[in-house]
């Protein structure tokens, strides 16, 4: 990734670079052109000065040659010397002046150092220039390097009448010329320096001004970019609420406009999405609120997390779920707390292999009970369930705990149970009516009705007295009821309560009990108004009346259609009649008398229900002893039989019924385990072909015949080979052998062997047969068939 450099920096840098480059080029151009100009100027001035020097030298040489004609002719040394010396002295350009004769002997040799011009020797000059000069016939000049500077020598012959007398020579120094050239060059350089200085300072100034301007300008250009960048950044971060401002009217502005459109589109979309999410959340919340579910999460060490639904506080009756421990939230006792940690450990280990629903069932707390408020006893019932929360790898990280207030549901359940109970009690009442002799019931209702009547009259009387006393003595004294009166009322109520209870009329019994409680208040020192209590008792008496009416209706329902008039006759009288009939039975030949005798004998017959009552009681007593629940059912219980129909079978029946209850019917827990309800003992009696056939059936565990056979082999009653050949009936028959039942045998057959042997022996004694039909897990039916005593033939 390239390093970020802002547009502004780039703009400033490039502009500065441009300005610098422009000035550098300008500077180089100026320098070059200046150098060329200076060189040209110096050449020009050199030419000019040289031309003027040449003209000057030529003129000087020519003029002197003419002027000296006469002097030379006259050999006027001094005049020539003076002329030449003064010329040298007067003109600083003249480096020397020489006049020499034909023999090249100098007459004058004037230099600035030798102003008088007296030659150093009178010998001819022998340098090449002097020889060149001595050979001239016309004026000429020559240039040569004379020591430090260049010298142009102008020489001209001095003649008279074509006779050359000598030569005048002047050496002109180029010193002044070069000085001028140097000056020109120096000027040029100075000008250049000045120019450079000006350009540089202008450049610097331009740079500074340029920087400032560009900086300002770039700021103006980049500020919309900056805001655009920050806007897009906020969009990129998911904030679509900040508008993108269109600050400039250029491409950036255009871009900003497009971004704004984009932002609005996205915002619209996301807003819609948010709306959707909000809507869904609302729906979810609605659902959660409707199911009143409170939830929070816990870690695998049992610690409670911060996240939880507000409803959880409400449901679990705490201020802040997150500030509570799981022990406080789920109201653990010590044992549950430890078990809960074990459970968390278990689910962490097994949640990948086993279904959560099974693991959740093992959590030690599935329901909690809370008081609805600190000062009430009203309870709330909270169902607790658990859900796993896993990370991406599928490992369990947390457990969500859901608390559901089930109070209302439970109330409904309870209400339903109460209703069911009421129905049951009604059914029970009906059954009790049906199971009780009509005359007994009639006696009860009559008695209860008259007592109720008396109670009502008495209470009404007291109410009247209370009112009258209050009218006559508004202030005092308060009405009181004597103890004797209350006792009498109490006795009547108590009798009604006891009687109705014993006949199973629970509602009537309940109202009587309530009325008793109220009556107790009349004994207490006066705390509230008597008439209130009396009114309440009156209300309860009304309810009792209704209950009694209800019982009447039921009685009518059961006995109503059959308006047979029952007459109570003491047993002794019936026995007398039966005895008398039996005595004359053999003497009577008249069929009508015989049928009369039969009718009379049948007076002593009793319904099976009555005949089996003793055994029913026995069954229930046995069941109570071994903590089992049974229903004792008598087939055709209303059918009547002679009183002694069960004679001789007492032992057998006792054993059969005890066996069925004790060993047939399973323990309530076991029955629940195998999905059975209350145990059923069913007895039946049939007569025919001179036999009494009695069966006792249970819906218990049945006989494990394999086990019986095993026991018999163990006891050496039979061999294994014999056992292999036995039929099922024969295997059951082994039970009658006895001795196979010991304490060591397993529960479902224990004891049965001995009992069975006794029964078997008794039945054999009565010349009857015993058969057992048993299905494992379904139950056992024992059927005995015993002949009727020949002495007492059945009709």
């Amino acid at each position: 990734m390239k390093r970020f450099v802002s547009i502004r920096t780039k703009l400033i840098f490039n502009t500065m670079l441009l300005i610098t480059a422009a000035f550098s080029i300008l500077l180089s151009v100026i320098i070059v052109s200046n150098i060329i100009t200076v060189r040209k100027n110096s050449e020009k001035s050199k030419t000019n000065i040289r031309t003027s020097l040449l003209a000057k030298g030529r003129t000087l040489a020519q003029n002197n040659s003419i002027a000296m004609r006469g002097m030379a002719e006259d050999n006027a040394f001094t005049a020539i010397r003076d002329l030449v010396s003064s010329t040298v002295a007067d003109d600083e350009d003249v480096a020397y002046g020489i006049y020499m004769d034909r023999q090249i002997i100098p007459w004058v040799y004037a230099t600035p150092d030798n102003p008088k011009g007296i030659p150093r020797s009178n010998n001819p000059l022998d340098d090449s220039i002097s020889r060149w000069a001595g050979s001239l016939e016309r004026p000429a000049f020559i240039e040569y390097a004379g020591g430090r500077t260049a010298i142009i020598e102008f020489a001209a012959p001095v003649f008279i009448d074509d006779k050359i007398l000598g030569h005048i020579r002047y050496g002109i120094s180029t010193n002044s010329m070069e000085r001028s050239i140097r000056e020109v060059q120096a000027d040029g350089r100075a000008t250049l320096k000045l120019l450079i200085l000006i350009i540089l300072s202008t450049g610097l100034f331009s740079l500074i001004v340029g920087y400032a301007v560009v900086r300002q300008l770039s700021a103006r250009i980049t500020s919309p970019i900056g805001s655009l960048v920050s806007s897009t950044k906020s969009i990129a971060e998911g904030n679509y609420d900040l508008a993108v401002k269109q600050e400039s009217n250029d491409e950036i502005g255009d871009l900003a406009g497009r971004f704004e459109t984009m932002r609005l589109t996205i915002k619209q979309y996301t807003d819609h999405l948010q709306d959707l999410i909000d809507e869904k959340m609302r729906q979810v919340n609605d659902i959660l609120n409707n199911i009143e579910q409170g939830l929070f999460t816990i870690n695998l060490d049992g610690s409670v997390n911060k996240e939880y639904s507000a409803r959880a506080n409400l449901i679990l009756k705490v201020k802040d779920v997150a500030a509570c421990s799981i022990r406080e939230l789920l109201r653990f006792d010590m044992k549950q707390g430890a078990a809960f940690l074990l459970w968390l450990d278990l689910v962490r280990k097994l949640h990948k292999q086993q279904r959560w629903i099974k693991l959740a069932k093992l959590a030690p707390v599935q329901q909690i009970e809370l008081f609805a408020a600190p000062d009430t006893l009203e309870k709330k019932y909270i169902a607790v369930s658990y859900q796993p929360i896993c990370d991406k790898k599928g490992d369990l990280v947390k457990v969500m705990v859901l608390a559901l207030d089930e109070t209302e549901k439970r109330m409904k359940d309870q209400q339903m149970a109460a209703e069911r109970m009421q129905h049951e009690s009604e059914v029970k009442a009906i059954l009790n009516i049906a199971n009780t002799p009509a005359e007994e019931i009639a006696e009860f209702t009559e008695d209860t009705s008259s007592r109720l009547h008396g109670l009502r009259a008495e209470i009404a009387g007291h109410l009247y007295c209370v009112r009258r006393q209050r009218d006559s003595h508004p202030a005092t004294p308060l009405y009181s009821i004597t103890k004797e009166h209350v006792d009498r009322l109490f006795r009547d109520l108590h009798t009604i309560k006891g009687n109705s209870g014993s006949y199973g009329f629970e509602m009537l019994s309940y109202f009587a009990h309530e009325a008793e409680d109220l009556l107790e208040k009349l004994r207490e020192p006066i705390q509230e108004r008597r008439d209130n209590i009396l009114h309440d008792i009156n209300g309860l008496l009304d309810s009792m009346d209704q209950s009694l009416d209800d019982i009447h209706r039921k009685i009518k329902l059961i006995f109503g259609k059959d308006e047979e008039i029952t007459v109570r006759i003491p047993d002794a009288r019936i026995n007398n009649i039966v005895e008398l009939c039996k005595r004359i039975e053999s003497k009577a030949d008249d069929p009508e008398v015989r049928s009369l005798i039969t009718e009379c004998i049948m007076l002593s017959w009793k319904p099976l229900k009555t005949l089996f009552r003793k055994y029913q009681k026995l069954a229930h007593k046995t069941a109570r002893k071994v903590n089992k629940n049974i229903n004792f059912i008598i087939n055709n219980e209303t059918m009547s039989y002679p009183n002694d129909i069960l004679a001789g079978l007492d032992d057998v029946l006792i054993h059969l019924i005890r066996n069925a209850v004790d060993h047939g019917i399973e323990e309530p827990g076991v029955r629940e385990e195998v999905g059975k309800s209350v145990g059923r003992i069913q007895v039946s009696l049939e007569c025919g072909d001179g036999n009494r056939i009695i069966s006792v059936a249970d819906d218990g565990c049945g006989i494990d015949t394999d086990r019986v056979v095993e026991r018999c082999i163990e006891k050496n009653i039979i061999t294994r080979e014999q056992a292999g050949r036995l039929t099922r009936e024969e295997k059951i028959g082994l039970l009658f052998k006895g001795g196979i039942s010991t304490a060591a045998t397993v529960t479902d057959i224990s004891g049965r062997g001995m009992g069975m042997q006794i029964i078997h022996n008794k039945v054999v004694e009565l010349k009857g047969t015993l058969s057992i039909d048993s299905q494992l897990g379904k139950g056992t039916t024992c059927t005995i068939s015993v002949p009727v005593d020949k002495e007492k033939p059945l009709l």
Partner: protein, 126 residues
């Protein structure tokens, strides 16, 4: 190639139902059935089946005790608890190494119960 199972329950009737279920619905071979905790241990030693089912409340030695002894000898034993005992006793069995549990009553005519039973067996054998 069917798997083998030993079924231990003090109720002969239930034990018979479980045997039928394992043989008919799950294709197991039932090696033996037992009626108490001591038998459970002896039968496991003798047959070393792929699975043993234990009731918790049994005479002489409870299923939980039998499980402990079996696991002590055979740490890899697959043990399925089948019991009406719920709550902490079952949790303890699971924590001590039972591979799964089935709650009584056994409702073999309830499809949900059968599905749960089969799923539990699947979970045990992975």
């Amino acid at each position: 190639m069917g798997r083998t199972v030993v079924i231990v329950d003090d109720s002969k009737f239930l034990s018979k139902q479980v045997v039928e279920f394992f043989e008919e619905q799950l294709g197991f071979t039932v090696c033996a059935t037992g009626y108490d905790g001591n038998e459970a241990i002896a039968l496991y030693r003798r047959h070393q089946p792929d699975l043993i089912t234990l009731d918790i409340t049994m005479p002489n030695k409870t299923g939980a005790e039998a499980m402990k002894e079996i696991l002590r000898e055979f740490p890899d034993a697959n043990i399925l608890m089948i019991s009406a005992v719920r709550g902490e006793a079952m949790l303890e069995c699971m924590n001590r190494g039972a591979k799964g549990y089935i709650e009584k009553p056994l409702k073999f005519n309830d499809s949900a119960f059968i599905d749960d039973f089969k799923e539990t067996i699947r979970e045990i054998f992975g």
